[in-house]
Structure formats: structure tokens, C-alpha cells
């Protein structure tokens, strides 16, 4: 545990010594493979987000000459009842949803870190209050709470962002609190205290570096939650208005047309949402592998 956990400067001596030339040249060890995957996921996600932002509104607007087209080479995801290209709408929608997810999970993770560390270090009344708040927030059905908040904030973009942002912190708060509590009992922290280092120094040099991986993984794993909940809110009509083609509004519009046989309206956007969520989950898990010092040496 003396090594900095997020240092990537680990080599794998066993493989270097024991392998023949072929594997030495072409074999990629697990860490490198994970890194490549990580880079690829990041690239995919960034590509969708940027594509959505720079897209000309015309691209996902109606083209009345091309209504109700099945998926084809020109329109990979087909077009809807107004002739809107579903691929462009899906990308725009995912990009919107991911932006909301990013803001929301950053805010939520921020709240979690502050509350988690405060709870673990200050103890006493603060600790009890934070635990009570976590229990309270977890006790109310998540979606209902979000609908209430979104409705209160007047729906729309603000409503969704606020609702998703301030409802996703409880579980990460618990994780961070537990982590910090455990760290405070570690020998090297005790030693540092005995050596006369101040709590700020200990916090910066010993606690934060160890909490950081948990925080990052937690942050990334909040992402798919936030996206799904944004989509759910919009799907239920408490989220974004029609002029913002978020993935939730695309799906809820598509549901109306399932009975007329236009399956592609719901299928492809739904699949894309699923893939993005899985990508984020894989991203978080890979990051956890990379930042956990134990995972590559067992």
C-alpha cells in the first residue's frame, strides 16, 4: 500500500522474463488492454457528444418528403412520421442526455465527497445528520422524488438537471464515508499523526489520494444512472420539451407509433441508450481495475 495507487508505472516483470519473442512483441498485458479499451470508450462517448453539439438543427428536423422510411443505407435508423432522420435525432438526443448526465453526476459526486468526508472526519452530530439525510433520501422512491423536484422547478432543462443532480448522492456518500473511516485507522495515518503532521497535510497526502479512485469510479458509475433517470423523467413527460430531442422524448414519441408498425422508432434509439449505458458501466469497471492496486497482482 506504499505505492501511489493511481500511478500507471507498473511493469510486469514475470511476463518479460518468461515469454518468447512473439509474445513479447505482440502480447498486450491486461493493463495496456484495459487502457486501450478505456481510450476507445472515451473516444466513442466524446464523439457522440461532440457530434450532437455541432450538428445542424436541419439534420434532425423534419423532411416531409421522406416520411415513415424503413431503415436503409441513407437513413440507418429510418425516419419518423414527420420525416425526421432517426440516426441524427438519436445522436442529438444521446448528446443532450449525456450532457445532462455529466452535469448531474458531477454535482451529485461533489455533494457525496463533501458529505462523506465531513461525516467521517467530524463525526458526532454531523455524522448522524448525514446518515439521517442518506436514509431519508434513500427511503423515498427515487423516481417520485425526481418528478416532484422537476415539477417544482418548472420542468424543462433546469428541472431535469436539478432533479437528477440532487438525488444521486446518497450511495456514493456512504461509500466515501466508509472509506475515510477505514483510512483513519490505517497505521501510516497513525504514524503521520504521531510525527506531528496536521490534519490538512494528512488529508491531502494520505486520505484524498486513497479516496480519489473511489470517487472517480463512483462518478462514472453515476453517469448511466443519471442518463437513465433523465430519460425516464422525459419519457414520463416531466422533463424536456418537444423542441429538445432528448432520448426520453424520442422514446415516448416512438411508443405512440409502435401500434402503427413503425418499430424502428423505438428500437434503435432504445438500443443506443442501452449501449451508451453499458459503455459507461464498462468504463467505470475498467477504471476501478486500473486504480485498484490489488487488481493486477492477484
Amino acid at each position: 500500500m506504499t505505492e501511489r495507487p493511481n500511478s500507471f508505472a507498473l511493469d510486469n516483470r514475470a511476463e518479460l522474463h518468461g515469454a518468447d519473442t512473439y509474445t513479447r512483441v505482440f502480447a498486450i498485458n491486461k493493463r495496456t488492454r484495459t487502457l486501450i479499451l478505456l481510450a476507445f470508450f472515451c473516444f466513442l462517448i466524446a464523439a457522440v457528444m461532440i457530434a450532437g453539439f455541432v450538428m445542424d438543427p436541419q439534420a434532425y428536423g423534419p423532411n416531409y418528403d421522406l416520411k415513415r422510411q424503413m431503415p436503409s443505407l441513407n437513413h440507418l435508423f429510418g425516419t419518423d412520421y414527420l420525416g425526421r432522420d432517426m440516426l441524427a435525432r438519436t445522436i442529438k438526443g444521446l448528446s443532450l442526455s449525456m450532457t445532462i448526465g455529466l452535469v448531474a453526476s458531477l454535482v451529485s459526486a461533489g455533494i457525496a465527497v463533501v458529505l462523506g468526508i465531513a461525516s467521517a472526519t467530524l463525526g458526532g452530530i454531523t455524522d448522524r445528520f448525514v446518515n439521517w439525510a442518506v436514509d431519508l433520501a434513500m427511503g423515498i422512491p427515487h423516481l417520485v422524488l425526481m418528478i416532484l423536484i422537476s415539477f417544482m422547478m418548472g420542468r424543462g432543462l433546469t428541472g431535469v438537471v436539478v432533479a437528477v443532480a440532487i438525488t444521486h448522492w446518497p450511495s456514493l456518500t456512504r461509500v466515501i464515508r466508509a472509506e475515510v473511516l477505514q483510512l483513519r485507522g490505517e497505521p501510516y495515518v497513525k504514524v503521520a499523526q504521531a510525527l506531528g503532521h496536521g490534519s490538512l497535510w494528512i488529508g491531502a497526502r494520505h486520505i484524498l489520494p486513497h479516496v480519489l479512485p473511489q470517487f472517480l469510479v463512483g462518478l462514472i458509475l453515476l453517469f448511466p444512472h443519471a442518463i437513465l433517470h433523465e430519460a425516464a423523467l422525459t419519457f414520463l413527460g416531466f422533463g424536456l420539451p418537444f423542441d429538445q430531442p432528448a432520448i426520453g422524448s424520442i422514446l415516448s414519441e416512438a411508443m405512440k407509433h409502435l401500434s402503427t408498425g413503425m418499430w424502428w422508432l423505438a428500437f434503435f434509439p432504445g438500443l443506443s441508450l442501452l449501449i451508451v449505458v453499458l459503455l459507461f458501466k464498462a468504463l467505470g469497471e475498467n477504471l476501478a481495475l486500473l486504480t485498484n492496486p490489488h487488481s493486477f497482482h492477484t
Partner: protein, 552 residues
Amino acid sequence: MRERHRKEGYHPRTLAVGWRQIAAWLLATVLVFLLAGCDQNPNSTTPNSRVSNGEQTKKETISVYVGDEPEAGFDPTTGWGMSGYMLFQSGLLKFDKQLQLENDLATAYQISADGLTYTFTVREDARFSDGSPLTAEDVAFTYETAKNSASDLDLTMLEAAQASDSQTVVLTLNKPLSTFLSTAAQVGIVPKASYDPLTYPENPLGSGPYQLVQWDRGQQAIIKPNEHYYGTPSFFKQITLVFLDEKTALANAQSGALDVVMVQPEYAKEPVANMHLETFDTVDNRGFSLPVIPPDSNAATGAQVGNALLSDVAVRQALKIGINRQTIIDNALNGIGTPAFTSVDQLAWYNPQTVYADGRIDEARHLLDAAGWLEGPDGIRVKDGVSAQTNVFAPASDLQRYNIAVAFAAEAKNLGIDIKVEAKSWDECYAQGYATPILWGFGDYNPINLRSLYYTGATYNFASYTNKIVDTYINAALQSVSQQEALENWKRAQWDGTTGPESEKGDSPFIWLVNIDHCYLVADGLNLGEQPVHPHGHGWPVLNNLNEWVWE
């Protein structure tokens, strides 16, 4: 049974298969055949289902889906029946198929020369559905109650309502108001003896063609004919109104469980076995308010008012003649709609001189060129540094309106006008509507609508429109004692040949786009009678003449 079966059949000491098992297998086989037989005979499904041939089509119960239930219940004193369909009650007057007023509960009426006193004679054979007679006392009571209820039903013009004898009621107004006769067709009469504002909405008692048997909120309402009704008796002995969501209703129609189903334009072309589509003309219009004043801020509220682009009358007129309404209907409404040129198309007070040809792109472009709006490099016109660009609002709760607005924007683009559609909540629409066009929907059986749109400072005059001559016509129409005179003035208020809000040369504070046809899937053989032009609000208006529906 299963337990015993298992014990006998699988117990190791049982040597032979018991007779009970054989009997059970036989029974099962017979059942399977029976069920298979049922499948081949579509006429013997659930008792509720529609059947397509033979005598059974004359069944005396039907099930219909006409949208959601009225949340507030069926109380005419708080607005039930305002749109012309009452079912359980009847009013002093009613609209005929051409939307002219005719007597209903009243057998005659006189209006005093000053237009302030209306004397109605109530018919003698009118009875509530419990058999008790309906008298002038009940009429006076209803109007007094409705006046004090402060609901959507506007009776602020009523000074007093008094029964002078059992068949005569005198209604006094505080100002002459010719539209009071339309109001008399919008107020259903409730019984003075048993009316209780708390229970009445769920247990309505009236003199209309039907009475409510049972109302399960969120599920269904069952109604049956009022045997004391003085008008055309209902052919059907029981009608079930089901409350579902649209998709479920359509699925129910496809499975044959419903006889009349309201459908949205996007599903109107779905084929459904044994049902056909009927579309009815409406005055359920959609149109934008076009702010006519230049940008400014409201001195009192600080809110932005006026619109740089639309304050030029040439732009408003160019939009009116340049867009193609039929294209908007085809694109946004699946072709289900009729081009609209006023807010009152086809009603008795409609002025047909307001109609003009649209889709005249070249003419519209000339008009804009002449007004100084010249085409810029990106195709969007510019005048004195002002770009021909504006946002428009579509209410966020209505996807159909958003689609109409987007289709309208595509038409405006052909003229070099850039329109961006935003979906906004009604609160935001009202707050910013004096600067930004809103896509409205109106259409009821009362000419007072013209006043609320075009009179200086009126409720829905979001265009900030002022025209002294129009105000004069509206005042004259309201103060007319004869209906004929009132109608003439309403027509002049739209367009008198030289000025007015409507017509292609008019001041154009609103641009009307479409009257959305109301679509219903109707069981083959069911005749819905002659339907009047439907008002705003798809669904319930089709029940207006429920007592005239028959199987053919």
C-alpha cells in the same frame, strides 16, 4: 384435485391407471375441442364485442371512447355543457345543425327594446329524469347559482334571474349583450329542490336525453335514456363511455370491443376490421397571434412586448398568402384538416368574404421586397439591419401543436422568413406572448370569441391589436337587440370590405392555419346522424346528438 390425482397416479403401489384419470383426460380433450370451436366462430366472443352481421348488429347497448372524463364532473353551473354537449341536462335554447339558435326548454322568448330584459317561456312537458317537473323556478335558480360559481362560464352580465310564474322566467342583464342568447344555449338547467354543489357533479339530475347510471372514475361511465325526455328518444338502452388512453382505445377498437373510438390524425389511416373512419368538420382552429406593435417594454410589468419583424403589416400579410395551408395539414396532421381563414369558419357569424387563396409564394415575395425586406446571402431577408427572424411558441403539453408550428416554420422559410419553434409551458407563453407568437386553438359556439381576440385590450388579444372601427362593430354587435343585426355586425367586425383583422388585405393580428377535422372510428352500420360543425376539443362533441344515433 391435483393433489389427489398425483397421489393416485404416481404412487408406486398403484398398479393401474384409475378411472378418474381416464375421465379427466376425456374431459380435457372435450374442453380443447370446445375452445378450438369457439375460435372459429368470431360471433361468440365476449358479450361486449361488436359483431358484423345478422340481427345482432341491432344491439341496444354500445361502448364508446371519446377521450378523458370531465374531471370536475357534470355540473352545468360550473361549466359542464358549455361546448354544446350536455347529455344529462338541457338548456333554454340550443344550436341546430347549422348552429342557429332554436328553442329547447323555452317555447318562446322576448327581448326588451333596451336589450336588458330577456323573458323566456318554459315548456310545460319538461321533466327531470326523476320525474319531477322542471319549472321557471329551477331556471332562475340555475342562473343565479351559475353566476355565483365564478367558473369558466361567464355570467357577469346577469343582473338578476326571477321566475314570474311557474312557466315564465325573467333574466335581467346589467348591460345589453346579444351573445346572451348563445349563453342561454350553454347553460343546462339543474333542479332547485335537490341541487347540492358537493354531490351534483357526480350525480347529475337534469332534463336532457340521458341520465347517469354509474360513474367509476378513471374507468367508465354508464348512461341510460331519460324516459321523461321531451325530445327525440334514444335508440340505445345503455351507453358505456370508457376512459382509456388513446393507444389502449385503438387496440380495443381493433379487437372489436368498442363501437365508436376517437382517433388522433396520426392513427386515422390505420385500417380496423368492421369499422370505418368518419371525419367531421370543426371550428377547432389553430393559429398564431402576430404582435402588431414594434418592440417595447410594458410600462407596468416590464415584460417585453411587440415584435420587430411582425410589426410590419406586409410581413403578416405575406405570411398569410404565402404559406400553403394544405401542405401544413398534410405534413403535420396526416392530411386530416381543413384550411382556416378566421377563428369562426362555418359558424353562423362567419364572414365568407374573408377567404383568400394561399400558397401564392411569388406574390408574397414581391410584397416583402416592396416593403424593404430584401433577401440576404443566406436566404433570410433583412431590412435596415433587422433579420427576418422570430421565435414562436407552441404549448409544451401538445405535441400536435408543436408539429403544426414546425410545419408552419418550413412554409415561412420558403418566403425567406426564419422561424424557430420553442415548446413552452402555458405560464411562459402567457408571460412572453405579447412579444412572441403563440399557437392558439379556439372554436366555440359563442361569437364573444371575436371580441376576446380583436377588441382593444381584450383577454386573448395577445397581438396588442387596436382598430377603432372594429371595436365599434363589436360594441354594436353586443348591443344589438335582434339576432340578425348582431350577426351582421359580427361579420363586419371580421372584415367590412375595407378594414378589419381578417382577409388577405386585413390588419392580420392573427394568422389562422387549420381547422383540425375530428376523426372517429365507427362500427360499420352505426349511423351517427347529422353532426353540426364540432367545437374546440376532440372527443365529447360527437355525443352532442347521441339520441339520434341508430343502427342502419
